[in-house]
Symmetry: C2
DNA sequence: AACACGAAGTAGACAGCGTCTACAAAAGTT
DNA sequence: AACTTTTGTAGACGCTGTCTACTTCGTGTT
């Protein structure tokens, strides 16, 4: 495996094991067994390396969706929604990195391509799930995606709970899906 | 105005003018006209200073809600929803800081108090807006809040748009409110 | 009035970070 | 075989947060 790929893999492992705050260029280099300057031979800077990692994250998100069990369009949509939230809860550090503008470069071509593919495929699922009462399915998809995204984000933040109330992410997701599809 | 308060104010200004990446302890000190070590006389570290700034952010969020025009419970709820998204779009850097676990300390008492007050008051609005079909209003509140939060976050991220589709935040918000209240 | 003492501010140091540059080694190309 | 491009290393620079020693200053006690 070439050094470039090893750096991406090492960074990805470091990310899931130590969290977003630990993915430093020098730390990745050390973990990969190269000098601290080596990564700059393969990436223009930290943002480009982390963008490659985030691209893998979006790709996995897309893959999970493709492996979903078939069924009615509506079932497929709810499965996709669960899949999104599950991904965020199972890989919180990766999920955080994927939306950290200060760490990655959203204009990186590969990243931009796969992240908009995530949205586009989701919009297809929404469109297939039924009539939206005249509103553009892509608009509904954007709104629903945002709802899922916020759910995952607030849960990871620890903020879904009020003073004396701590819902599970599953129950909150059920309410969300009920609002949109019920 | 004491130095402590000046540091918070300066940090807040620096935040809105230069963005989250620019709020460095040394930069704040310089902008406030004190030495780089002075802030540590008033705060245990960067996290405590930024937590104070974020606390002001949550407080303003709460204030905006209290100044909302009266009306039917449902009108008041939709106004509160708009207020949340408007705040995020008008003060993006503050909004980002408020949810950046790595920069602030969510267990800071003042911060924890005001942030859960934000949720609690929102839950009251949801409960007043009508029957939720037997589900706990706080659970609906959590789900709706997450939807608003995700909307703001994804919009600021620049990701609400697919390849050839760019909805306005207002239109997406309208769809969200329609799903929950329509 | 003299003193002591704690709070507040300063300046310097340290390790860690991202990035740049100069240099060495290795791999390909002609 | 000679030359060029790629890949890796080591050191430096300026930045960061934080720690420590030192100074300054206001206040309260004796």
């Amino acid at each position: 495996m070439g050094t470039r790929q090893r750096l991406i893999t090492t960074a990805s492992e470091l990310l899931t094991e130590e969290g977003v705050g630990a993915v430093t260029l020098r730390g990745i280099a050390k973990a990969a067994g190269v000098s601290h300057g080596a990564p700059l031979r393969h990436f223009s800077g930290r943002a480009e390396l982390l963008s490659a990692v985030a691209t893998q994250g979006f790709t996995e998100l897309l893959d999970r969706r493709k492996r979903l069990p078939g069924g009615s369009p509506r079932e497929r949509l709810t499965a996709a929604c669960h899949s999104y939230v599950d991904f965020a809860l199972q890989k919180p550090a990766m999920f955080e990195l994927m939306f950290r503008r200060d760490l990655i470069d959203p204009d990186e071509p590969a990243l931009a391509a796969v992240s908009s593919a995530v949205f586009d495929e989701f919009a297809v699922l929404v469109a297939a799930a039924g009539d939206q009462g005249g509103t553009d399915p892509r608009l509904v998809a954007a709104s629903l995606w945002a709802a899922l995204h916020g759910l995952a984000q607030l849960w990871l933040w620890g903020g879904l709970a009020g003073a004396s109330f701590a819902p599970s992410p599953e129950s909150a997701l059920a309410v969300t899906l009920d609002a949109y599809l019920g």
